[in-house]
């Protein structure tokens, strides 16, 4: 099992950076607002450590086994991170802004269906069904995350929702990474996983590493203090949302 110098550098620095970020999220108490993102970084730290075992022992089959058995966990965790961004941005007062959750779920579902169709428009020159599925699966994943973050950005803008520093930093890093991931996975659909694979993946990994470093800095810094929402105000807003929802339901029935 051969790894190039670049592979080593990326692997070690990303592992270290993710571990540092996880520690910062825990020590600085950011996990309270970002429990899914913190868990994601914790799981990534453990997975990174696991990968060093087959690399040292030279067992390619063990490496592949760890890789494929953690793919689903990583996908679900990343889905959870996008949900967390949506939840924080679209619940500025503790209750979902009217329309926001419905829009996110509706457009998110449409985006997932779109992402399921697009990879089948091209046939990647990969060896065998499994190889083609892998390329398409990677592209599907990137498309899903890209569309979901786009839905959050667009919805928040049209609803006049502000992004506070930490969630904005998470969104910025995430957007940069998924945009590059889409381009890389789109190119893989043409080249397959064999040709240019290493170079393309290095680009994707470097951008993720840059995003993690950016998050380390941003999550270390404190946000400007936010005025607390009194229980009375929260109850009032909740009542207002319920009232509006019930009004809208009545209007829908009348139509």
């Amino acid at each position: 099992m051969h790894l190039s110098i670049v592979d080593w550098v990326i692997m070690v620095t990303t592992s270290l950076a993710e571990a540092v970020l996880f520690a910062i999220l825990v020590i600085r108490g950011r996990w309270r607002e970002f429990p899914v993102f913190t868990s994601f970084m914790g799981i990534e730290t453990v997975i990174n450590l696991l990968f060093f075992v087959p690399i040292w022992s030279g067992s390619w089959s063990l490496y592949a086994w760890i890789y494929y058995s953690t793919v689903l966990i990583e996908f679900l965790m990343q889905l959870g991170v996008v949900w967390e961004i949506a939840r924080i941005v679209m619940r500025p007062t503790g209750t979902w802004v009217q329309d926001a959750r419905k829009r996110f779920i509706l457009w998110g579902t449409a985006g997932i269906l779109f992402a399921a169709v697009v990879p089948f428009l091209v046939t990647p020159p990969a060896a065998g069904l499994f190889g083609r599925l892998e390329v398409r699966g990677n592209l599907f994943t990137s498309l899903v995350f890209c569309e979901l973050i786009a839905v959050v950005t667009r919805t928040s803008k049209s609803l006049g929702l502000g992004w506070r520093n930490h969630v904005m930093a998470l969104g910025d890093g995430w957007t940069a990474w998924v945009v590059v991931a889409i381009l890389v996975d789109g190119l893989h659909s043409y080249s397959g996983l064999a040709r240019y694979s290493g170079d393309l993946d290095h680009v994707k990994m470097f951008v993720f590493l840059a995003a993690v470093v950016y998050w380390i800095v941003q999550f270390w810094l404190n946000e400007p203090a936010r005025q607390p929402i009194s229980p009375e105000l929260r109850a009032y807003i909740q009542g207002l949302h319920e009232h509006i929802e019930s009004d809208l339901d009545t209007l829908d029935v009348q139509e």
């Binding site: 007062t93 802004v97 009217q98 329309d99 697009v118 428009l121 091209v122 046939t123 020159p125 498309l143 890209c146 569309e147 973050i149 786009a150 950005t153 667009r154 928040s156 803008k157 049209s158 609803l159 006049g160 929702l161 502000g162 992004w163 904005m168 910025d172 957007t175 998924v178 945009v179 889409i182 381009l183 789109g186 659909s189 043409y190 080249s191 040709r195 005025q227 929402i229 009194s230 105000l233 009032y236 807003i237 207002l240 949302h241 509006i244």
Partner: protein, 197 residues
């Protein structure tokens, strides 16, 4: 046939790209451009200060909007005084509705901005305005559907004046709520905002 084939063959015939590949490229590029554009415009809005936000408001003939909105919100004896053509004209046609929709986004940002000076009231007013903005957007969407020359959307065409009037009443309420909020929270900025709206 894939794009990689023609690089091997160097043949003009093999350079023909199948339609699905073009669709694939167009969708991916379109999505990436849309995501970057959305992200850029969202961050730009977040960085804008109060004056830049106010400068972004587009002129709307408020006298016309007010006439149409009060006819809807405050019914009086002769409720059919305004005919559909007049409603359309008062609101400045489709362009006027688009301006109201764009201004609504900025008004929401201005209401959120006021949370710096009068948190509790501004939070509540912003939530109410979001509801108005949602109705405004939905009414403008229905007007857009009504303007399409398809039989499928005929029902929207018949109700076009009603939707235009709903849009104007939502805009009217948003404007009133925002001005009242500024009148109580930041009287210094109130005149500038009132002049812009």
């Amino acid at each position: 046939m894939t794009l990689t084939h023609w690089t091997y063959k160097n043949s003009i015939h093999a350079m023909t790209i199948p339609l699905s590949y073009l669709v694939f490229d167009a969708l991916l590029c379109g999505l990436v451009i849309a995501v970057i554009a959305d992200w850029h415009s969202s961050r730009k809005r977040a960085r804008q200060d109060w004056r830049t936000l106010v400068a972004g408001l587009r002129p709307v003939d408020f006298a016309g909007v007010s006439a149409v909105a009060t006819d809807y919100l405050d019914p009086h004896r002769s409720q059919t005084e305004l005919n559909p053509d007049e409603i359309w004209e008062f609101l400045g046609g489709y362009e006027g509705l688009k301006r109201m929709r764009d201004n609504a986004e900025i008004m929401l940002a201005l209401a959120a901005y006021a949370q710096r000076w009068n948190y509790a009231e501004a939070v509540i007013v912003t939530e109410r305005m979001r509801h108005d903005a949602s109705l405004l957007r939905s009414s403008v969407r229905r007007v857009q559907l009504g303007l399409l020359p398809f039989r499928l959307f005929r029902r929207f065409r018949f109700a076009l004046p009603l939707h235009a009037q709903e849009a104007s009443s939502s805009y009217y309420l948003m404007r009133q709520r925002l001005l009242s909020l500024y009148e109580t929270s930041h009287a210094g900025r109130f005149p500038t905002l009132a002049a812009a709206l």
